[in-house]
Amino acid sequence: MSTRLSSGGRLIDRTKLVEFSFDGKRLTGFKGDTLASALLANGQTLVGRSFKYHRPRGIVASGPEEPNALVGLGEGGKFEPNQRATTTELFNGLNAKSQNAWPSLEFDIGGVNRIMSPIFPAGFYYKTFMFPRFAWKHMFEPFIRKAAGLGAAPTEKDDDKYEYFYAHVDVLIVGGGTSGLAAALEAGRVGAKVLVLEQTNTWGGRAPVDDVLINEKNSSKWIKNALSELKKMPNVTLRARTMGAGVYDHGWATGYECLTDHSPEKYGPRHRLWRIRAKRIITTTGAIERPLSFAGNDIPAVMLAGAVRDYIIDYGTSCGDVMVLAANNDDAYRTAIAQVQAGLKVAAILDARVSVEGALPNQARKMGIRVETGMAISKVKGSKKVTGVSICLQAGEGVPLEEIKCDVVAMSGGWSPIVHLWSHCGGKLNWDANQAMFRPDPERPPLGADGTGFVVVGGTANGCLDAKSSMQDAISQCRKALKEIGYKPKASIPLKAFAEPEAPIEQIWQMPQGMSIKLQAKTFLDYQNDVKVSDVRLAALEGYESVEHTKRYTTLGMATDQGKLSNINGLAILADSLNADIPNVGTTTFRPPYHPISMGSIVGDARGKLFKPIRKTPIHQWIEDNGGFFEPVADWRRPYCYQRDGESVQEAVTREILNTRNSVGLLDASTLGKIVVKGPDAGKFLDMLYTNMMSNLKVGRCRYGLMCTENGFLTDDGVVARLDEETFLCHTTSGGSDRIHTWMEEWLQTEWWDWKVYTANVTEQYAQIAVVGPNARKVLEKLGGMDVSAEALPFMSFVEGKIGGIKARPFRISFSGELSYEIAVPASDGQAFWDMCMEAGVEYGIQPYGTECLHVMRAEKGFIMIGDETDGTVIPQDLNLQWAISKKKDDFLGKRAHLRSNMADPSRWKLVGLKTIDPEVVIPDGAYATDGTVRENGVKNMIGRVTSTYFSPTLGRSIAMGLIEFGPDRMGEIIDFPTLEGEIIKVKICDQVFLDPEGVRQNV
């Protein structure tokens, strides 16, 4: 059984006890423990259940590659599923729950699947569950869904906050092991701006665990000195608990900094996502040990040899009293040696190699450890925990020769360099058969903006597994990178690393070599997803030959560890099944992030009130304080209506309409776009942009204009005012100001750059307030300062001056059909002007009105609204706006497009007014008109659709506009609008102007 040793533990502080709980059990550990080491110290071998068969699972690894030990952590708004116990630092009050087991971890009903496993091979679900047809959705799928998934879904809003940080550096170094630190010193000393990321909270990597000597001293000393030198350099930033998560194009990378996960009581952001732009990225990310493929290799207490060593040396924790070690390389012997040095027992080392004469094996032999060569594990004994192994010849088929009792099996199939970051952005790999690993191909790096490689890999990650060469490699890779970006590194300070030399590894992909099909079905490649050797062989047999096919058919490598432990072993089995070489089979694509990062960190601070900016007019606060019921209009918020106490939305809208029509209303129109266009060629320019002629507009006058895209579709409309001979002010829709300004600049900068025109978007310079209704003039006259009479300021004109002491430019334009002034005042004075109007209007019963009132009033007048009558497929001709299309102009944007056959087709749907026969019935939004015929394909023939539909309080009846086939030619005809409920609304086609067609009201 695993337990805490009486001494040792490089990273723990035995004087500081930490209390935590696992599945409700109260346990203790030490400061410096991970949750995994603390669970092991408490003898908790079983930590979870696998995905498919719900098999018992224990801790396998000691780092982020852990596939099994995933727990739910925390409570409520701090709950998080699928946290790796191996990377979770222990803290007081930590509350962990096991996952994917019901009713309990020990007795999981889902474990039934295990017994059924012979009929659940890879891809079995593609071959069954097809009958009866409804059964997939209603029987099989719900069952599978329930069994699958890992942790519980969080249910509450996240209590934590997150943020970004943008950093620009010369060199980003990912991985703070001895190689990374050596590279950092090299770069720091030449003055380069350096950022070093280390995913754990300790620097130096595995060197101290592996007994590496640097400059003939214990590596810890060198690490300490290196850190202290680096910390003194102003050009170097060191960041622990920060994982290099992804590498992206043009030297961009993400770093995932965990700020409070290890101490939740600390105030501040939980995660910070570093967004780094680096000239060169040096990855010194080390390597991950591979499991060996033997039967029963998934039983709890079968662990990676390196992890067993980590737990002993770093955490003073044994993973079992009696170990059997299975290996194909020398490095694994360090674990056996550490086990014995810790006072524990090694029952046997089973080395698959026939000849084993390296320094480390001999040291093990000297220590009295039984070393069996050419031997393998036939099968691991035990169910929820290892009880022993039966051993066999590696060369054979697995005939058991002997049973050895043990309570932990350490395994090592060699080490795979961590090449993820190299590969994320396209770096390619070579297969190194001697070392049995994929390593970066320096000839095919990921390419940056300038077409040169921007990632270099150093040290173990580059395939230099021995301590001697790995630091030296990291240094030389770093020097190469520094030279590429213009630094001239001086001769580096000599550095001598030493560890016991290692004999070559032998490629062992299954144990024993000729394992029977029965053993293959008990030999796991992917522990979390329960993918076995037999599954990969089945995929190959059935023709799923591409590595991507095999991955998808078996789900190999698709678990939360993304195949960190399983991919290479799986590839090798696939290659063997296909009689191909490993490099010919290739790898699956490495995708960021290196290991999973919180969704919160991806979003950063953009949540709640910082989710997305809301644009506010100068009157916004007043609207909010006075019952305004907002709706989003582009990024603005506009009041739909102003609700009074006890009033429904509909009642409020009706009141606002009647009040405006009968007396006077006030509208905040500040959101309307306002663009100044100036220059000798301004008229010519606007003639191209608008369908109408603008160059002949008189100074002081206004004209309504339409804009089309080059594809002929209506895109915006608004009133243009001529401020002086060379200057126009173009109004756009609320959503259109930035778009239209950009559109103008695009033409001026990229097409007509020789035209003398400047533009400026002055939308936000002004508050624009519409005073509307028969009493509008009286209100303004009360404020005084300007002659606003019909003579001084006729319809479709403007003047400049002061009203009530505020600089103002009133436009006599009307979107309601009423006497109307839209008054532009400086935004800073907008609220003051609004207040003055409200006060002056008291005697007329002035009331503010919202967008719905505006919409109804314009519909009563038959005015189109961009976004209602148009939807990106409507041309001006469809809306009977031929009068606004100049025939005198040679060209304008969209003119040629209107001539295409479909756009000139007389059967295009055209705008008309629509009156329901029953005046109380309002046509539903979005309804289509039918003529009772059915098309060839069974679709009921549609002959038009409604575009705006309201109940008009002014007219006391329903009104609508719509686009109808041959509409203008069918005045007075009655057509059908079927509703969603299946009723038919009878509608009469009429003129679109419902109120005051002569324009008497607005022209006073």
């Binding site: 992206y248 194009d249 043009h250 030297g251 961009w252 732009r277 396209g426 390419l447 940056g448 903006a449 300038d450 077409g451 080059e710 594809n711 950009t742 600049e745 695009e746 900068q749 990229t750 097409e751 750059w753 040679d890 060209d891 003119k895 040629r896 497009a897 295409r900």
Partner: protein, 108 residues
């Protein structure tokens, strides 16, 4: 996450400060154009696997457009230049040809 040097304000700007506006050097066909020319102008875009000339706007920066030559496969940026040009600068064309001898050259 691309990175371009804006030739207008000479700042190297992150993709998120920029906006891509598609192919550069498109010839406008207006009133009087043939159906074919209009279709080409509006819809027929170059879509090469390789060197592509395109327009970008430094939208969060100086607000100006510029043109860029970029490889759509490696995302290498060969250079940026003024949007007020009918064809890419000779020097840029030569630079690309040197790097990509198999490249067919600029086609309008």
């Amino acid at each position: 996450m691309l990175n371009f040097r804006c030739p207008n304000c000479e700042i190297t700007a992150d993709e998120t400060d920029l906006h891509c506006d598609g192919q550069a050097h498109i010839e406008r066909f207006g009133a009087g154009a043939s159906d074919d020319d209009l279709e080409t102008y509006l819809f027929m875009r170059h879509n090469p696997k390789g060197v592509h000339f395109e327009r970008w706007r430094h939208v969060f920066g100086c607000g100006k457009w510029f043109n860029a030559a970029r490889c759509t496969v490696t995302l290498e940026v060969f250079g940026t230049y003024s949007a007020q040009s009918l064809v890419p600068p000779k020097s840029l064309i030569n630079k690309i040809k040197k790097k990509r001898p198999e490249w067919e050259g600029f086609v309008k």
